[in-house]
Symmetry: C2
Subunit: 191 residues, 2 copies
């Protein structure tokens, strides 16, 4: 149900066509949300009917540009400040961990090591992206970079966790004898 709000957020930066919005999902937002044109085009029409957007006249090649309305901005704001985000309901990679006991220990270790490698690769990807982007002083870039940083931190923790978990299995432990979890120090609130 967040597609509408993702579109409102993108259109808050300025008018855009369905095609351009589709590209935004493939590029800047790819790590955070996804949507195909087949969903975006009908959705934009619904949002226009709702009064959150208005469509400009057709440009060349049938291009249709949408502009966010005050109602649209109000809805975006309402969503941000009033609707509590729900804690992730689904996490496929954690689900898999629950069932690793059905494999041989060596296979489970191999699985976790591949996960660690994938997380490392993702860290590399995000780091490269961060270096590549010509960040400016806009609010949008500011928030984009903060979000990228969050993704980076989480991927790093996932990599470390997977290596630790693999080591636990390798050394023949069980749920009652886990060792050396790098629990972070009891979080100090800043200020």
């Amino acid at each position: 149900m967040s597609l509408k709000h993702a579109l409102l957020g993108l259109l808050a930066e300025g008018p855009a066509s369905g095609y351009e919005l589709t590209k935004r999902f493939e590029l800047s937002l790819a790590n955070v949300w996804s949507a195909k044109h087949s969903q975006i085009y009908p959705e934009l029409r619904k949002m226009a009917a709702e009064g959150w957007l208005v469509a400009g006249e057709e440009g060349s090649r049938g291009r249709k540009e949408y502009v966010i309305t005050d109602d649209g901005r109000a809805e975006l704001r309402r969503w941000l400040v009033e609707v509590r985000p729900e804690r992730a309901g689904r996490n496929e990679s954690m689900l898999r961990v629950f069932f690793l006991w059905t494999l041989d220990p060596a296979e489970a270790v191999a699985y976790l090591e591949r996960e660690a490698a994938a997380a490392h690769a993702y860290v590399e990807r995000l780091t490269a992206l961060d270096a590549l982007v010509a960040w400016d002083e806009s609010g949008a870039d500011f928030m984009g970079r903060l979000a990228l940083e969050e993704g980076l931190l989480i991927a790093q923790v996932q990599a470390e966790w997977a290596e630790w978990a693999a080591e636990q299995i390798r050394s023949g432990r069980d749920a009652t004898t886990l060792t050396g979890r790098r629990r972070r120090p009891p979080t100090k609130r800043q200020r």
Copy 2:
């Protein structure tokens, strides 16, 4: 598409009815996956038709118990070792961060502080759960506890990130002047 495999994984521990499996999703798996009985019952019938399960005869109150077959175990194994988990396509809370620039800085800070508090609360919940569970030496408990630990680490990082991000906004920074990111040391591979 993982519901089938989640059910296979649960049934790998032993026979169960749709009702019991529904409870498992509400309890042990709640932080990782969700499914309602209205989806589970039809899915079990499809999986039995597929040959992954067999249904026992009806018990009292119409209870139907399903048992995993060798084909079912093979499919679970195939999913675990051959199918690469896809990197999370959707993350609503990160999506929201992208659009925080549309709010006043003070509101954005308040938003992030609420997120930090929510993450802290979740850490507490998981910590309490970890202390409450009577972990045994089974493989299932071992993997369950490893997964719980992963959730804990991620929630801790999220809390720290949100506090750091709020501080960045409070001190009037932008994408070109971020400070003090607690980047973890370049990951040392264990052994």
